[in-house]
Amino acid sequence: MVLLIQGLVLGVLVGGMYALMASGLTLIFGVMRLINIAHAAIVIFSSYLSWTLLTSVGIDPLLSIGILAVVFFIGGALIQAGILSALVDKDLSLALLATLGIANVIEGTEGALWTSTFHQVNTSYTDITYHVGDIYIPLVMVITFAVSVVLLILLFGLLNYTRLGRAIRATTQNRSVAQLVGVNVSRITIIAFGIGVAVAATAGPLIGMYYPFYPNSHWGWIGKLMAIVVLGGLGSFRGAMLAALILGIAEQVTILYIPADWAAMVFFVFLFAVLIVRPQGFFGHVGRESL
């Protein structure tokens, strides 16, 4: 029983972090029906940068979140404007392949700059663990969860209570109609991609404190993130939150009973089950993904 509670607690904490990473992915999918294969690579790239900021300049990872978000927003907007915009309208599969290319450029660059060995963002508070009864709670996971929740609330507010957010949601629902009612769809897409990338960047320092990373560790993450956004319904923000929580808990509870090597299998089992039983996920719409 204690084990199970332990799993639930860790699951919720991890789920918040998954939600942060998945929200950017589902936002990007929403506005242009593009699976950003480079999404987790961007997260890991941000982890590396926060490691460098910490070790060479001494900037705390929690502070570097803000810096990296701004830098990555600009970078993401430039990538969208320079590369992806032209491809999305012509042939979505080319845009998808371009994101695959971006993932590999990032991975190769990381390997060349930081070598292929493990890195971890180590702060003075990295190894602190609290004990509540028989349950242990790493401080870093609590911080990660709290920061994720704050960022997600900010993102939710942005999407639901601002003009920009309304334009993004309109673009998500229907690109051509949004264009008709006066939304500058290509500009909104550039901004939305920038936001998605910036959100990914905020996750980098956070996961870098708990999970060691190396150049190709993003492949492990992107598989999990894809399972989350499919379970939630591609393009759905609410769905991604719920799915992240469910899969975070499922993962943490499962690895109490089976070797952790198989943890990612939980995600793939859910992925296949969803696609067989309910391909549109929790909050997706039938046929919407074919637009």
């Binding site: 999918f29 029906r33 699976i35 294969i37 590369i83 032209a86 491809l87 012509k90 042939d91 599969s93 080319l94 845009a95 998808l96 392949l97 371009a98 695959l100 290319g101 971006i102 993932a103 590999n104 450029v105 990032i106 991975e107 190769g108 660059t109 990381e110 390997g111 060349a112 292929s116 150049p215 190709n216 492949w219 492990g220 992107i222 598989g223 894809m226 399972a227 499919v230 591609l234 070797p259 090597d261 198989w262 990612a264 299998m265 793939f268 992925l271 296949f272 696609l275 067989i276 391909p279 549109q280 993904e289 074919s290």
Partner: protein
Amino acid sequence: MTARRAVGLLWPLVPLAILIALPFNGLNDFYLDMFYFTFTYAAMSVGWNIIGGFTGYISLANLGFFGLGSYVAGLFLYYWGWPILLTAPLVGFICAALAAGLGWIALRTKGPSFVIVTLAFTFIAQMLALNLKGLTKGSAGLYLPLLTIDPSYRGDLFYYYMLGVLVLAVVVAIGIRRSRFGLGLIAIREDEGKAEGSGINTNLFKILAFMISIWFAGVAGAVHAQYLNYVDPDLAFELIIMLNMIVMALLGSRSSVWGPVLGAFILFPLQNFLVYWLPSTIAGQIHLALLGVVLILVARFMPEGLITTGANLLHRVRRPVVPEETAPAVAGGAPSETRRAS
């Protein structure tokens, strides 16, 4: 048969004859190895193009099936002593059968779920190879029995084997391209709804295209296990293999049978020299990043690939002045002509 048509049909025999003759003049091991890899990549890329190019569904499972093919063939050899060069076609069929099941799940919805499922499959296959330690020895890898053959012929044997697989891939792709099946696949790429409306069983077509595509990945993986005499989860599922087969197809031209072959014959030798030339500590990383750059640049600036772009340029040069009135007819004729040329 006019002379022109004969040339159009039979020209591949010339490069083929040259490739068959090459080893007789004593290619050294470096070049035998380079050609073996080029053929392997070309065959896999032609295979990938059947689903990724003709049908327009981006598959990321071909890497998973390459690795699975390596493992299935390796395990057959390791535990039962079945020679890989004989079982490779069978391994291809095992992979294709699995691909049918995967396709059934992934192709129920249109669009992005195929990409996601195929990528997930590659991860799952690698995870199984890594974690079913009792069977696969995990990350230590499987050391396979060596081929019982005079070592001086070993390079030639693999050279001709993969040349044969490549020829088969091209013949199959041409056959598909000229059949109603191939037309159906292209119709699916252009407009799946209309293709379905015109009576094409799109699900069956897509799954068949996927299976054929995967057969070549499985066979290439199987042969590669014997080539290295070794299988491990990192080598069998190396990302750069997937990247290569896609970049080669895209660079050469996705709408053409010969595109991936051209792409492979350009890109692999270049990479081979590049990796020898770069300092070994960062060669792998720079290699990966550069291939990513090539993928982005081709997708952004030459998505039609060398063959189609070249054919269009040639077309424009041959008919430089197009009167206004006849322009639509020419414009309408150009794409179909370039399609047929491929």
